[in-house]
Symmetry: C2
Subunit: 371 residues, 2 copies
């Protein structure tokens, strides 16, 4: 496993091990201090899956005062959505349940420019990402989805004009090596976040951006840009919340480049069960040792699935944990329990996905780019 | 006077002395070889004020075959338009006379980003640039004008997506030192030139870009980009023609930063005459020497005004030249002749400018950006 360096690379693929370092080094605040401000609970906050934030308390207080708030996040339409993607869907569902309007960028410009994906393939996948998000439970009546390359003038004008007040050295300090494509993708993301505050898009509102921890560089850039354009364009810093990255079944970051270790939302349920059978666990070398010493769930990709997706109930999760550390359950049995839950989750999700696709709703709410 | 280096800096202010070097070093073709292709004459071609081109023969032949052709150029709305600006107006008038549609970018994004101009001031000046161009004789019925920050989605999408296929090293090879702003401004100019070939803007057409010699770096970049996106977006290389830069009355490049050596189109005619009185000429140290040796019109800013703007008739120009080199006329008398012609030109232009402004036509044809 790769140690996290001083620079986070949102385009990289390594796992982030040390979330405390993020909190200290980049000034991300721990989430546990502000849990009391949440109008109601969600397991991600309780379990510190969402572990940090910037100014989320400011956003929550604005929400409480009845001021205009919104949520902005983006999905990269490269590869197929997996259980890591579903974490953001889950967060968005929660934020919608607070009454917030959500807007979601399909990062097709970024996928094309930085990931060098085929343009028409990226556009096609965008539709799937949106359908999956609705199948997961996002309410399309209180959500907007857009391709980064199918927006309006005012949005693009931000991208263009932002370039005046950021230097190459500053970009390098945030991203490491830069090039025209990375600069464009980064400024596009800043426009994604900040355009919601323009008059054209309803005027000033408090924004929160839920992201994986690896996306913080974009937030740092966007906060700097907001400061520099506050006087001229009335833009203000967004808030953000950070979730830990769900690892793949081999313990590394879940990634489309290693599909055998990722659970995709459109995986055949039986295939998915087989992937679990081969997953890295926190088990011991032998059954005897496991019974004597107990397992190590904090090292286990199966237990991570319980925490992130498969077990909602806190009591049940605790039981699973205790059984493991006390050596009362062996990995094989535990995997079968997880596999059964996963199979159920996938079958139900895929049923809803088909309904969403056949309903034609995505075509109704998502305008495709003309080229 | 500054020698031209191996790199041309379109954002720089030095005079370009050695146009032959441009022809050789950057592969700009001499214009005199293709004069026979012009349907009718213009003094700028005859006098080699327009001295070079890239693929202008291709454009002229497409025009002759009746294929779709267009002209694209841009004006930087920083400072007030001067006689250097009017050279482009003059070229556009000529290209319109061939039947070509012309489209003109007001480079407000570039002025804001790279020149760091005030945004509302830039927008205000854009209106003046358009009014001056119509006053100079551009037919608004066969011309389109637009601010770079008030365009449509498809145009901006080009700017965004172009960034994929150009590297930082390539940009540096063309522009020298780069930064996010310069990259954005350069890609914006490429979109200015190439967007006309998109379906949204009428589909493929042959484009020619009339520019000052210092703008060739943008053309080189744009031609590279067109090559790289030909297969994907159907873009093709633009043609270009290059005019020499009208120098200021001190012999250096005419520039807004030294207004006392520039003739602005809105200069008070009497003030303009006074500027001429102090202009650098090709005269000798004393009247006696001048009569004996003759003047050197090729060094004279007054003679340059004759060539570029004040004398249309070839015979009259030749007489003025001969009188000078034969010592038959002294600089004082010559300046008075030029001043009288300039006064007349400015009075007539400013009368038409007022008519254009009061007619409200600019507001009708130019959509202002919303911020």
């Amino acid at each position: 496993m790769v140690e996290m360096g001083a620079k986070l690379d949102p385009w990289g693929h390594y796992a982030i091990e040390d979330y405390r370092k993020l909190l200290e080094e980049f000034g991300i605040s721990p989430i546990d201090k502000i849990l009391g401000l949440l109008p109601h609970k969600h397991k991600y906050f309780e379990r510190l899956v969402i572990f940090g934030h910037r100014d989320f308390d400011v956003w929550l207080e604005a929400l409480k005062r009845g001021e205009k708030v919104a949520v902005l996040t983006g999905f990269m339409p490269s590869g197929r959505p997996h259980l890591g993607t579903a974490m953001v869907y889950e967060e968005l569902k929660f934020l919608q349940s607070l009454g917030a309007h959500i807007k979601i960028a399909i990062a097709d410009a970024e996928a094309y420019i930085v990931r060098r994906e085929d343009r028409s393939e990226v556009i096609r996948r965008g539709v799937e990402f949106v359908a999956h998000s609705i199948a997961w439970g996002i309410n399309p009546d209180n959500a907007e989805f857009y391709y980064q390359t199918a927006m309006d003038n005012e949005y693009y004008r931000l991208i263009q004009l932002f370039s005046r007040k950021i230097t190459a050295a500053e970009m390098e300090a945030i991203y490491g090596d830069i090039n025209p494509g990375k600069i464009m993708a980064a400024l596009t993301q800043s426009a994604d976040i900040l355009h919601l505050q323009l008059d054209k898009y309803g005027g000033y509102k408090y924004i929160v951006v839920p992201v994986g921890a690896d996306q913080d560089p974009h937030l740092r850039l966007t906060r700097d840009i907001a400061d520099r354009f506050e006087q001229e364009f009335g833009l203000k810093r967004p808030s953000s919340i950070y979730h830990k990255l769900l690892r793949g079944l081999d313990g590394n970051k879940m990634s489309k480049s290693r599909p055998e270790y990722a659970i995709h939302l459109d995986d055949d349920p039986e295939m998915a069960e087989k992937k679990l059978a081969n997953a890295l666990t926190g088990g011991r070398a032998t059954a005897e040792e496991q019974r004597r010493l107990g397992g190590e769930p904090w090292k286990c990709s199966i237990f991570e699935l319980y925490v992130y997706h498969l077990i909602d109930d806190e009591k049940e999760l605790k039981e699973r944990y205790d059984e493991c550390v006390n050596g009362k359950i062996l990995c094989g049995q535990c995997k079968r329990i997880a596999a059964e839950k996963l199979r159920k989750l996938l079958i139900e999700h895929q049923k809803r996905f088909k309904e969403v696709i056949t309903s034609g709703i995505v075509e109704k709410i998502l305008k495709k780019p003309s080229f």
